[in-house]
């Protein structure tokens, strides 16, 4: 009998008590981290704090950040493909798997149920939320950070917030207009009690962007970044130039001229040798390398990021194992191609319309250096977000808009000299013709870089689709046609009851 009680007491002791420690139910994740875990780790290693701001940059190229599993959902450059197609310079030249078809046919822009209308909205507001989270941690919008390092973080966060609002303002609003149109909800904090904001006016949105960027430029003064994926003073200046140009008052253009001049001083143009693959310069030419001196903002993709099929390179590059190669090629609009002078080296960036393969594809502008069709399986070719040439052209445009045609012509000539053999035709251009030429050169130079759409809008242009478009070939659309700007997606309309208040 004694043994029996001793044994059972032993069970009782071991089994009953085993689960009863107070912290038994407190478990920590390891697949991801949490604010608490990260805070604790940063106490030991303060360098970790930089990781939050770089998270915004990683978000720029991560698949799925637009809230879908679509293979067209991969952040910044994914949005660029949408806008390049909306302004028609990028043609979806064949349909196989069918990504982008609703954009290319202008179905997605007018249909609030489409994922394509949702993805940029979700992605860009995610960036804004990320930036706001950091701004909140730093002490809020109005706090002047105490140290230079904190100022840099604040400047980067506010630039990224302005970046988000600028792209939203372009994709979801037709134009600046009178400034009183209600276009977008504004959030300047991640505070969960301030959710579901109503739409603000264009003026309010622009005022916020200008204020954020102006302050960021000050905060980022003297900051030297270690890699080009980070925002620095020149990135902020570039964005501010676009923001102001999109509003387009004379005062704005004056400031644009100054801002672009600053950038031109800081960065050289892309060289003729870098512009186009000529059969031998595969490792040095092409827009695939972050080290290119003219690149202001971009990212060095490495194997560590595991970028694959779902990427800008996958969708556009024939030499990457993905959709462009597998039957959904992206090509230049035939009309735009035809408008490139025969003696313009940039004409060679594209396969000729009579080539046996890759017709009108940008195979000599964007390519994996190995140049094997469908070859690049894991994407390590780099992404360009912003380069100096944009501002050489915008500088010319600003001057033309300010009525300084001669200076504008000079700026344009300087830019085109390495590109076009005979630029004598420029001398005869002035006024609207000069602006048209700058607009055309902007479209040519920046094909596939997500910038032509902004140029179309600020030039209030009408585009005519070339004959190689699968849809609406030959039709014309004005910049403010409802088809050229996305409607606010259904998910917002359904789930933000304050939207129109």
């Amino acid at each position: 009998m004694n043994t029996k009680y001793i044994l059972t007491l032993a069970f009782a002791g071991s089994a009953m008590l085993s689960g009863c420690k107070k912290d038994y139910l407190d478990t920590q994740p390891s697949q991801f981290t949490t604010p608490d875990q990260l805070g604790a780790a940063a106490q030991q290693d303060p360098k970790l704090l930089n990781g939050s701001i770089t998270g915004l940059y990683t978000t720029m190229f991560t698949p799925g950040v637009g809230g879908t599993t679509g293979h067209d959902d991969f952040g910044h450059r994914g949005v660029d493909i949408y806008s390049d197609m909306l302004c028609s310079d990028m043609v979806l030249a064949a349909l196989n798997y069918g990504w982008y078809a609703p954009v290319a046919r202008y179905q997605a822009t007018v249909d609030f149920t489409r994922n394509e209308a949702y993805v940029p909205w979700r992605y860009l507001y995610r960036q804004i939320f990320g930036a706001n989270s950091i701004i909140d941690i730093l002490g809020g919008n109005d706090l002047v950070p105490a140290t230079a390092a904190l100022k840099v973080t604040m400047g980067q966060a506010k630039t990224m917030r302005a970046y988000g609002y600028f792209y939203l303002s372009q994709l979801y609003a037709k134009e600046y207009g009178s400034g009183s149109e209600k276009i977008l909800p504004i959030y300047i904090t991640a505070d969960p009690t301030k959710i579901n904001q109503p739409k603000s006016t264009t003026k309010e949105v622009w005022d916020l962007m200008v204020a954020d960027l102006t302050q960021s430029i000050t905060y980022l003064e003297g900051y030297t970044r270690t890699t080009k994926d980070q925002v620095d003073k020149n990135v902020a200046k570039g964005l501010l130039a676009y923001v102001l140009a999109a509003r387009g008052t004379q005062a704005d253009w004056t400031q644009v001229a100054t801002l672009t001049q600053d950038i031109m001083t800081a960065y050289p143009m892309t060289t003729a040798a870098q512009l186009v693959y000529n059969g031998t310069n595969g490792t040095t030419a092409g827009f695939n390398n972050i080290a290119t001196a003219s690149w202001i903002w971009g990212v060095d993709l490495t194997l560590a990021q595991g970028i694959n099929l779902i990427s800008w390179w996958g969708q556009v590059d024939q030499f990457t194992y993905s959709y462009a190669w597998a039957g959904d090629p992206k090509t230049i609009d035939r009309g735009l191609y035809d408008a490139i002078h025969a003696d313009d080296i940039r004409k060679n960036q594209f396969a000729s319309p009579t080539a046996t393969s890759y017709k009108l594809q940008p195979i000599n502008k964007f390519f994996d250096p190995a140049r094997v069709a469908g070859g690049q399986r894991q994407v390590i070719t780099d992404l360009v977000y912003m380069r100096s040439d944009e501002f050489y052209l915008l500088n010319a445009e600003a001057k033309a808009r300010l009525g300084q045609d001669a200076s504008a012509r000079t700026a344009l000539s300087t830019f085109l000299t390495p590109r076009i053999t005979d630029i004598s035709y420029l001398t005869s251009l002035s006024g609207q013709a000069l602006l048209n030429e700058i607009y055309l050169q902007t479209r040519i130079e920046l094909w596939g870089e997500g910038k032509s759409y902004f140029a179309m809008k600020r030039n209030k242009a009408t585009i005519t689709r070339g004959i190689n478009h699968l849809f609406d070939a030959g039709s014309s659309f004005t910049y403010n046609d409802p088809k050229l700007t996305f409607v606010i997606p259904q998910a917002e309309v359904l789930n933000n009851p304050n939207l129109n208040k």
Partner: protein, 1067 residues
Amino acid sequence: MLLLAISLSISHLWAQQRTITGKVTDDKGEPVVNASVVVKGTSVGTITKSDGTYSLSVSENAKILVFSSVNMEPQEVNIGSEGSINTTLKFKNSSLEEVVVVGYSVSTKEAFTGSAKAVKGDALNSKNVSNVSKALAGEVAGVSVINTSGQPGSSATVRIRGLGSVNGNRAPLYVVDGIPYSGNISSINTEDIASVTVLKDAAATSIYGSRGANGVIVITSRSGKGNKSFIEVDGKYGINMASIPRYSILTSPEEYIGLSWEALYNEGVKVGNSNPTNYANTRLFSANGISPNNNIWNAATGAELIDPVTRTVKPGVTRKYDPERWEDYAFESSNRIEANLKMGGGDAKTNYYSSFGYLKDVGYSINTDFERLSARLSLNHEVKPWLASSFSFNYANTETNNNGQGSSSNSVFWFVDNIPSIYPLFLRDASGNKVADPIFGGYQYDYGSTGRKFGSLTNAIADANYNTSLSKRNELTGNASLTAKFTKDLSWENRFGVQYYNAAGYTRNNKFYGSAAGQNGSISQSKNELTNLNFLSMLRYAHRFTSHNIEVLAAHEATKFKEIISSASGYNLVDNYSLELANAIVKNPTSNSYTNTNRLESYFAQFNYDYTGTYYLSGTVRRDGSSRFLGDNQWGTFGSVGLGWVITKMGFMKNIEFIDYLKLKASYGTIGDQVGGGSYYPALTSISIGNLNNLPSFGIPVPNFPDLTWEKSKMFQVGADFRLGTFLTGTVEYYLKNTDNLIFQRRVGPSNGYALLTVNDGQLRNQGIEFDLTGHILKGKSYYLDLGINGEHFKNKITTMPIDPSTSKQKAIDVQAPYGWAVGHSIFDFYIRNFAGVDPADGTSTWTVYYDDANGNKVYNAGEEVLDLEAFYSSNPDKKGALFTSTTKDYTKATQYYIGKSAIPDVRGAFNLSGGFKGLELNVQLLYSFGGYSYDYLYAGLMANGLIGGNNWSTDIRKRWQKPGDITDVPRLSNNADVNVASTSSRFITKANYLALNNIRLGYNLPSSLLQKVPGIQQASLWVSGDNLWLHSERQGFNPATDEAGETNTYRYSPLSTVTVGLKLKF
């Protein structure tokens, strides 16, 4: 002592002996052999002889004789003065007496106050499926078994009593031998299962507290208890095939190309081309049509190929070659082999059961199979009269090949159903000859690199042949317990359970063809290691007073779940076949590992009471703490009460002859679900960890709701178990289950930076009635015929939507295409644009539009449309009933609204027919579902109007609009010039009624006369069995039983059909 012995002997001497004789028969008049005849209260007795007669010498003062026999109701007879007593014994209603394993104790169907349906292992094993989840189909009313894949070894999705949550978990809890189970259901050999009990109501499930809300499936393994030593051997051989027909699709390349031409012609008309015939002729084989490389005819242009009047291929045009039918190379009949060896036995103190099983189940789709080697040992031993130990151990080694099943161009099923019949499987040279493959032999597959407009640059069949998609698993489930008995009534059980598995998944893409050819082949591995430990300590007191019976238990349980997940990959292979990373010259720097943990701590108690076997009462309370939640939200309390009343034991029922048995029962309780948060840490804000320039990069926080906790269900049930005469037994139950604090993904405007927050809000109601009836149509000495029908009718309704904090009001509508969630609607009510037919004038689609007639002209004008009816009514309540309807040809202007159809059926269940004649047994099981609607996505894809060459069509495309005046509901083909033809709309909502022959089995038990000639063999049976042989549904190929809402999916591996022969011998 001496005195006592003397007095006993005296009493013996005083008693006078007399002899009683008689005969015991059953209710058919047949003699009962070996029935026991005992004087009540003594050990004096005898057994009946082969003719049922007995002779017993009893003392004068003996008052009562008790007659009893196996499977028969005992009978007590007063001993009168007569010397002969004959009696009739009735067969027991075995289902009432049978022991049912419920939660942490055992009961009988009669004594249990909740809803528990036990299914015997034999019923499960008559089906040839590799795991118990699929075998449950049709066995239990209110249990819906959704067979989502034909992949051998895959598990079914099981739903018990409606749809328990909106965004949360709807899956039941599995419990194996008393321990909640986190392992793989497919690692349990169904031959080792003694029984499965499905617990449905709160009285039955509340003992599982936070995990019981969606029902519990209790699996009990076989043991050697009560057996003489035995050896059981069985072998099964079967054929797996795809015998349920697939969708009816176009198979003639000529028909396909004719329709393609017609589509171009209509496009020409639509774009205003002056010569549509020429438009089609010149485009048919061009960049704007089908690639000239895919022209299989000896005709260079559309003009040469197509007769513009008949729009078909001109007579006399020949082919360069005949493209293969892809299905012929994708699917083939295959084998299923299973063998089991079981041994067991025991005596009063010790019993054991051991088994070895082998299963190789090869699917009909190429390179898909499941192989399992399993072993089991269970040992129970009474160490001391006061101490019992039990130990069981299950090991399974499984290997699954599941090629060709991605939701991508890697899918064999997508290719088979959708590729236009003009495209060959094998590559052709310029003259149409197949091209030899120098690497693998045979012919090279066509990867579509020359302009194939379907799945270009891939070939799923080649991939399934040349690549590897394999998972291997070693899985161990162990269970040890010690039970100490303090007294006859009081015991203390301590149990330790472990589930462990180590699983490795391998993906290999070959060096030479397909996606990794550019990398010279690639491999990736993922490894999962699970350790789930469970500790239980339980005190149990049970005592029978004269007419009161009490059982009380109290317990503490702790669960520790830990899964380690790691992955690594590489490319540039040395050997084309080796799956190890050493074989990859380049390793990717994306390798990763992490751990998921989950802990649960519980205290619970239960009380069961009955009075004279007539009134039953049970009560349960359980308090659970879960690591999924934070702080005060970790702990929740659940409980239930149940009542049972066996009315037929009441005196007043004695006169009602036809009711043999009637029990009423009722229960109420609360149960929870904690899994629904979606992750192991659903209350924590998560921040992803990334790499940018080899420095840390933390993702944008994904906010979570820190106050998250369980969703809680309150379930009420009433039911009756009854037996009418010898003809009908049955159970009818009604339940009402309100779930509140729903784990709901509350949507916010995505402009907030996040799209949803997982919160506790909203309420959902499920209510239903379930019936399980068995009619004993024929019953004789050598034959019987039973017909069973079970089924359920249920309603599912959202009664409260989550509050939108920015308005403090409930959300009007949460559109979850093709469904919409709103108060008063089920989670599967279609909220969709209504297809209003085809305009006979031009063959284009029309959709219904609700419009607010602003200008009062009674005509729909652009801008007057209402896009989202519920949201509109919510903000314009005065407009209810004031809107008009019309039709529009612009899909984006059509109204989304509740069209009055739901994916929830009116009734579903099964018919079970079982009959026997002498040694022959026949069982037939039919599954049925009536009254619901489902979205047929696969069919929508086959009825689309995409670019020609891009997809095959259903044969229903023959009904398309062709010329003005055609009345049809299939719009014209126009090479995608008409948009949204196949976009989500009511057009593809299909009646989901079905009737399926799930299992038919004919068995033969060899008669004992024959067996006696073979010494040693106690029992021998052989059978032939067919599974999933026939399906009737609204449309050929449409199988709504493969999805919770009946939706179809072009990537789905349709369940396979199996015909098996088997032999079982017992020594």
